[in-house]
Amino acid sequence: MEILRVEHLCKVYGKGENTVKALDDVSFSVNKGDFVAIIGPSGSGKSTLLHILGGVDKPTSGRVFMNDSDVYAQNDEQLAIFRRRQVGLIYQFYNLIPVLNVTENITLPVLMDGRKVNMERLNELIATLKLGGRENHLPNQLSGGQQQRVSIGRALINAPAVVLADEPTGNLDSKNSREIVDLLKLSNEKYGQTLIVITHEESIALQADRILTIEDGRITGDEVVRR
């Protein structure tokens, strides 16, 4: 079942001579429960694509459909709620709120919605993410790997349609990297979570169901990984 469809996506920065085409007529679709890796050299447009998929950045032209609804046909308020409920974002630099503790950071999207936190799901997540006993710690009291696990928790808490991860292991050592990838894979396998990950590392890309290659803003490869 198709959960995400991208049609003729273009993103242009700057004007006149300084024009940079970050995305150039990108189209693809992703099925529910897919684990997609996006690879490509620096400056190829990977992050721009991810941000547009997440409803954070706006495309110059083209459309994004999530669950068959046009993401950029929504107003700012609706877009914010879309990000809150349908998307989980994971960044290379974790981007946690420094003044909130682990539990608060994880439950942030739920709390923003003004809903009650499902304690069962939270406890399960914390256990899965091996954050037990650190619920009340602030981000600066955690290691890099732990911080990234918190941000994964934040992305998963709402069971979003898609989790988007931008170089989630780029800032971590190999042991922590492996753990993070395992966790992401676990969410994909255990909860059927749709996953799109930008990565440099072939070892990670090879664990995906499908690898999209981007060069100069265009999709130059779309391969299904055969294991």
Partner: protein
Amino acid sequence: MNIFQRTAIAYLKKNKTRTIVTIVGIILSAAMICAVTSLVASFANYALETALYTEGNWHGRQLDVPYSTFEEVADSDKVEQAVYLQRVGYAAAEGCANEFKPYIYILGAGDGADAMLPIRITAGHYPVSADEILLPEHLRTNGGVDFRIGDTITLDIGDRILDGIRLTQDTSCYKFNDSWIEVHNGETLQVRESRTYTIAGTFERLSYTIEKQTAPGYTAITLADAPSDGSRYDLYLRMNKPKDVYGFFKDMGFEEDYNTDVLLLMGVSGYDTVYSVLNGLAAIIILLIIFGSVSLIYNAFSISVSERTKQFGLLSSIGATKKQLRRMVLFEAFAVSAIGIPLGILAGIGGIGITLHFIGDNFRSMFATPIDMHMHVSPASVLIATVVALITALISAWIPSTRATKISAIEAIRQSTDIHTKAKTVKTPWLSYKLFGLSGVLAQKNYKRSRKKYRATVLSLFMSIVLFVSASSFCSYLTDSVEGVFSGAGYDITMHIDDSELNMTPDELLRRISSSTDVTAAAYGKITFLEETMTKSGSLTQEGLEASPVYYADGDMAGVNTFVMFVDNDTYVGLLEQYGLDRDVFFDADAPVALAADTCTSFNYNEQRYDTIDFLNSDEAEFVYKTPKVIEGYTYAGEFMDSSGELMVHYHQDGYDDTISGSDETGLIAIPAGEAYDTGVLRCGKVLDEAPYFMPNNGGVTLIYPMQAMDSVAKDYVGTRLNFYITSDDHAASYAALETVLIDAGLTPGMLRNHAEEAETSRNIVLIIRVFSYGFIILISLIAAANVFNTITTNIGLRRREFAMLKSIGLTNRGFNRMMNYECLLYGCRALLLGLPASCAIAYLIHQTISGGYETRFSAPWDAMGIAMLSVFAVVFATMMYAMRRVKKQNPIDALKSENF
């Protein structure tokens, strides 16, 4: 608390310094606003207390009604209290010196009148029966009638009748005739009865509302007789609700005779000018405070918000709406206000309370009442202060929050709005490299690169300068306008009297004055200005020549403003002894040589200070003056322009009285001005080292002679006005004693003037203005300093990574300090370059407004600008040092790694 509120609180806790500075800013602004509102409330309350004191605690009155009206009114449920004064009648005031006030007007007070009406007893007690009477103080001081408490007086009481009509206090016993000369109206006093009273005490003259200046009777108070149909009564009413008085009077068919001052100050009058002026003034000051505090609080929020742009972007990317983010900032504003405003209100009330505690009694002399100004906290004043301060904080938070949420999530995450630098904008002049080396160049590049961030600092400095300079120049003009009144003369009390009023020799009166309580010295004299007096230019000092009137100068003769003063012989001899001078030369009745006082003190508006000029450069000088020719049997009467435009000198035949004969032209001769004058010569032989105490500050040379020389010197110029000059150790005690001396001499004490008290009043007013204005300046400056502190520390904090990077690539501590110093200079100079001209312009506007009533020349507020310049650099450098010390403590690697949000 939701997650946003928790985030906001957590953030406030984390950034303690800024949170504290923001709270301090709110405390200061709430304190100042509350100080202004509670000062206005206290002042309004004070004005009301003063009005109640002078006018009495009643709302409306109806004069001249029968007793039945009183009964009717007293029964009304709208009336809280009604009192009456029985019109007992007029009696002749025996021995009264004031021909316009020849009566005692007796009123019989009903129950409660002493509390409702402004009857203030100065000695003795309130009458306990209709046989006792209170006499007014001014019967003695104005009428010169002597009486003792405990004496009995018998008064023949009746009505003033003119043409069969009974006259009241509203009608004077004098009227104008056809030639506009006041003549007696021909009324008679028809005596009804004779009563004997014991004088129970004295009381202060009743207010103008009750006894007008023109009233022909001195109001005396006894107790009312038993009510009778034959008597007439004045009713005074106090309503349960003051505003009911208008409707009630209309219903009763009463005249619209209200206690206007009291109703006005209770806020129930149709006329609200007093309040609108007071409130207008308060509004201006509050606006100034809001201006200052918004800039501080705004900056604090603006910094905290822009610093968290990334945090906002992050929250936004995981689904926070703009509304939620704005609410979060507003919640922060609420949180700091919740702490700051109550503390500020307390501080403001406390500050005004303490101030009024110490200077409240100075208001007495300002308003001529014995009432001190007290702190008066009204719920409205606290509420207004709270609301205004809260609005200030919310506006300050709202603006940056809308700005921050306008940025899209992706821009916020990348913080891309901050990076749009072109090479051209960061070019730096060669000079800064030469002067400050690489550090200087870096500083200037910093400044140019992110002007927006620096604009906040420069703007807050700019506002601080403008606020400080304009506030202090406003205050100095206020003080000047009051200080300008000081005369600088040496005497404490004066008395002016016409020769003809004296019934004893001036020497006898002087003897009595000199022996009065606490009088240290006394003299009498006559003084006059000599027309067109000249002296040899060589006799004048350079300063004297510069001050010389030029229009009648002639050859080597220069004009000099000259007065002659004749003082009593004893005082004159005293001066001769003091200076060791020869009596034969100076004390010669026929060919006298004068003593000269030539020290003139005047206020120099160009230099804004008092100047002292000495006119004469040696002891001996000759003065040539213009004197009218002597015509036997005639008296000089001044210069007049006749119908053809020629200047004529008029002489009146001796005995001619122009006040009576009006248009009668007989007995008057006119001579063309060119032929009417001779010249006279006066000689001085000693210039006194300092002006004697009895010398008024005239602004020229005063030639002093003994009284005995008056006939041989300038006799025609000297008028009939005799002046007594008195110095005293205790001017109030002497003044009181002198009143008695004058009454005993058959004179009225109204001739006395207490200069020492006037000067004291002026000083008190100046003190009050100073206390409030300096208080205002200090608080405004504190706000300004807090503002600068906040902006600079934050900017430094934000650049931690940059500093760490510079250090990591080898910038030395010295180079680092140089860079920071140069940045300080940049801030300071930019702010001063904008701030000083702007404040000069505002000072000029203030001068234009103030100079409407009082002559001042504009001078740039150099002092304030100097202080502003020093303070700007002091605050900037001190803050920089504070901020840098904190930055230097950090390990550069940690800073480099820091995520900067």
